[in-house]
């Protein structure tokens, strides 16, 4: 039985269609990241799962039980779905301990009953504090403990790390994900940050154009995106026009090996190459180009190179030497590229 199933979910607010025919399956014990740009409807989808919104069409099934079928919907308070909002939303008038114990029946809301949960999220001993005495990261963890206290079937987190300082973010993220894994919890995490989605989740679902355009393990999405737009969304991507014949395509970078084995395919294609799939070599080798911008990040460098035909390519490489704008360099292709058929109806890049 799957923890969550969405089938054909559609939602509009007035004339504004936010979600259209969304399908999603989340199996138990999975941590899924729901990735999308701002305004893509991901928060709405999360709220539908929690029961704060109802669908216009489609079904929502949690733990094998239909909780929303477009006609009737189960109230949030009966769904046993944990919800951690963006800022934690701790009850300001209650202490940390009382916050954590909020959802439990009165008999179990005793002093000290929250200690175990607080320890689990790394906040042992802070039960007596008030929410306004905590840091952002601590608040987030209290919110998580509060949701976990009810042993929910599903935990929903809405941009949980977005409001944190950069320096705190990684640490809190690791802690929270650690807790979720330790409990073998099923969690859906909404985020607009691709790095975050790719690094923490077991599976990633990308919400674009009002529905889920692709869903799968992070590696699959990154290396085998469903279309060039998605490729660009998940990370830097170089998109070139090309003409394929079998497993090769001729592009501005010369002949490029493609990563699928469609020997019989041919025709115009778009070829996607990640920056780390390209290399910088001395001028005279590879495809000639001119450095437009060079950024040094310490662990690696990103160079933007202009080649013939007004093509600007991003290349990620080890920072061997300092490059200046105007330097002449050469570009090589290091690994097979992904090709996408050109759909005549799709507007060109």
């Amino acid at each position: 039985m799957n923890a969550l199933e969405l089938s054909g979910v559609s939602k509009s607010f007035g004339d504004h269609v936010v979600l259209e025919q969304v399908d999603l399956v989340v199996s138990e014990g999975t941590i899924m990241a729901l990735l999308g740009a701002s305004g893509s409807g991901k928060t709405t989808l999360l709220r539908i799962m929690a029961g704060f919104e109802v669908v216009d069409a489609g079904t929502v099934t949690i733990g094998g039980v239909v909780v929303d079928d477009g006609t009737t919907a189960q109230a949030p308070e009966r769904r046993r779905v944990g919800y951690v909002p963006q800022d934690g939303s701790l009850f300001p008038h209650l202490s940390v301990e009382k916050n954590v114990l909020f959802g439990l029946p009165r008999a179990r809301r005793r002093r000290g009953a929250a200690d175990g949960l607080l320890e689990q999220v790394g906040l042992a001993g802070l039960g007596g504090r008030r929410p306004d005495e905590l840091s952002g990261g601590q608040r987030q963890r209290v919110a998580l403990a509060r949701a976990l206290a009810l042993d929910p079937r599903l935990i929903l987190l809405d941009e949980p790390f977005g409001a944190l300082d950069e320096s705190m973010r990684a640490e809190v993220r690791d802690e929270v994900i650690g807790v979720l894994r330790a409990l073998d919890a099923t969690a859906i995490l909404v985020t607009h940050d691709q790095d975050e989605a790719l690094s923490v989740a077991d599976r990633v679902a990308v919400l674009q154009h009002r529905s889920v355009v692709q869903e799968g393990p992070p590696e699959m999405l990154y290396e085998h995106p469903a279309d060039p737009e998605l490729a660009k969304f998940l990370g830097e991507a170089n998109v070139l026009e090309g003409n394929r014949t079998g497993v090769r395509a001729s592009t501005a970078l010369g002949e490029v090996l493609l990563d699928d084995d469609c020997a019989g395919c041919s025709g115009p294609v778009r070829v996607v190459l990640r920056p780390e799939q390209l290399g910088i070599v001395e001028a005279g080798e590879g495809t000639p180009g001119t450095v437009v911008r060079h950024q040094y990040f310490g662990h690696d460098a990103m160079t933007h190179v202009a080649t013939s035909g007004d093509l600007l390519l991003a290349v990620r490489h080890e920072p061997r030497r300092r490059l200046q704008p105007g330097d002449a360099v050469g570009i090589t292709v290091l690994s097979p590229a992904r090709a996408f058929e050109k759909d005549p109806k799709t507007p060109s890049e």
Binding site: V65, P85, R146, A147
Partner: protein, 521 residues
Amino acid sequence: MTLTAPAPGATRRRRGDQHPWLTLLAWIVAIGVLMPLAFLALAATQAGWSSVAQVFFRRLTMTLLVDTVVMTVLVTMVAAFLGVAAAWILERTDVPFRRTLLVLLIIPAAIPDFIETFGWINLAPWLHGLFGSVFVLSLAVYPFVMLPVAASLRRIDHRHEEVAASLGTGRVGVILRVTIPAVRTAIAGGCLLVALQLLAEYGSFEMLGYRTFTTEIFTEFQVGFNTQIAAALCIVLVVMSALLVWGETVVGRGGRRAVASEVVAAPKLRLGPWRIVALGALVVLVVAAFGIPVLSIASLLISPGPAVLPSASLLGAVGYSLFYGVCAASLATIGAAAIALGSQRARSRLRRAPGTLALVPLAVPGVVVALALSYVAERYGGGRWYETSPLLIVGYAVMFLPLALIGIRSSLDQVPASLTEVAASLGSSRSAQLRRVILPLIAPGLGAAFALVFLSTITELTATLVMIPTGVATLATDFWTFQTNLSYGQAAPYAAAMIVLAAPPLVLLARLGQHRGEHHR
């Protein structure tokens, strides 16, 4: 794979809606608040357009209109000047004794206008007519401009002023062209409060011998008891008030966006030798608005002169005032809470309507509410509720429910919707959300609403005079009886009692306001 049985407890739900009972209750309260006024309008129209028109276009009506408008404009201007100047000196300069001065300058707000007038007239009986009215009432009402402007000056982004200064605007220019426009909303709001108060005021103008619409309505009611004339005059009064409310939304519009995200204290202007002048000016204001009336009443307490009338029971009056105050405050707070909780967060305009409708009595002077309720009791209640305590309490509640509602609404606004959603996700039913999350968080707002209505009820005069039951006297009515018989010595203890009873709610309100400001940061 999936079961097709619907989940237990599944019903059609929409986000943010309250329990239907609560919404219904909100509507009932809102309609209850508006009904008497609707009936009064009905009464006026029943008189027939020709007789109503006759009243509208009487020379006296026109004269009253002009007189009322002139007085309102003058007093509002003077009060606004005093209020803005005092607020600016307190918030933006290094005048000494800031804290003490702030408290002393706010206190006149707790003293009813007619008590202020009483204090002044006792010492200076020659205060009369338009000049007397402008002088005394400006002193009584300026705190209602000063308070919001001071709060606004504290919150706005003063960096605009620094930018203006860096671009070469002189200091006075900065004040006039940057600071004051930024607090425009606060000034407009304060002026609106002042003007509405003036339109509704009766006691002060009776004492000062200045005829306004409200004093005339009162006279019509007393002497002629011509409901039609009274109702027609009421309509004019309500229309004027409505125009003022509309005007405020127009004028005050621009200033609302100037609030800074971070509260960084603006640098205080160093006054140097002008410190003494500024301090002196504020002290003069305190003395005039607070010191002199209080001293005047105190002197009457010390040497009251011969008793003109048989004495009444001060304790009895205190008892009734407290009784009405508590009952009215409870009723108004509960009603306002029902409206706020039942309508504020609803998604549809229709469900939100009670919140707006219930604010209407703000623009309706007390005497009109009193007349309306009396009319309804007489015509439709079979005369049974006429001049009874329950009707009077309902009158107070109708008059002051908008005040309670404004306080509770702003308190409720500060409770983010995500809190109730999270509570729902944690298994709280709607009533549990109300009980465990919303009510504890709006408790200060409820307390403030109660205090405000209590304060307003104890110091209310005009409607009370119209509706008070036989054998009952409140502090205000006993005061008025003694005052009209010019027995100032006997009136003074009642005046003093009103001031004393009004002080604790005011202190409570000030404290709650402070706390809210701190919480927000």
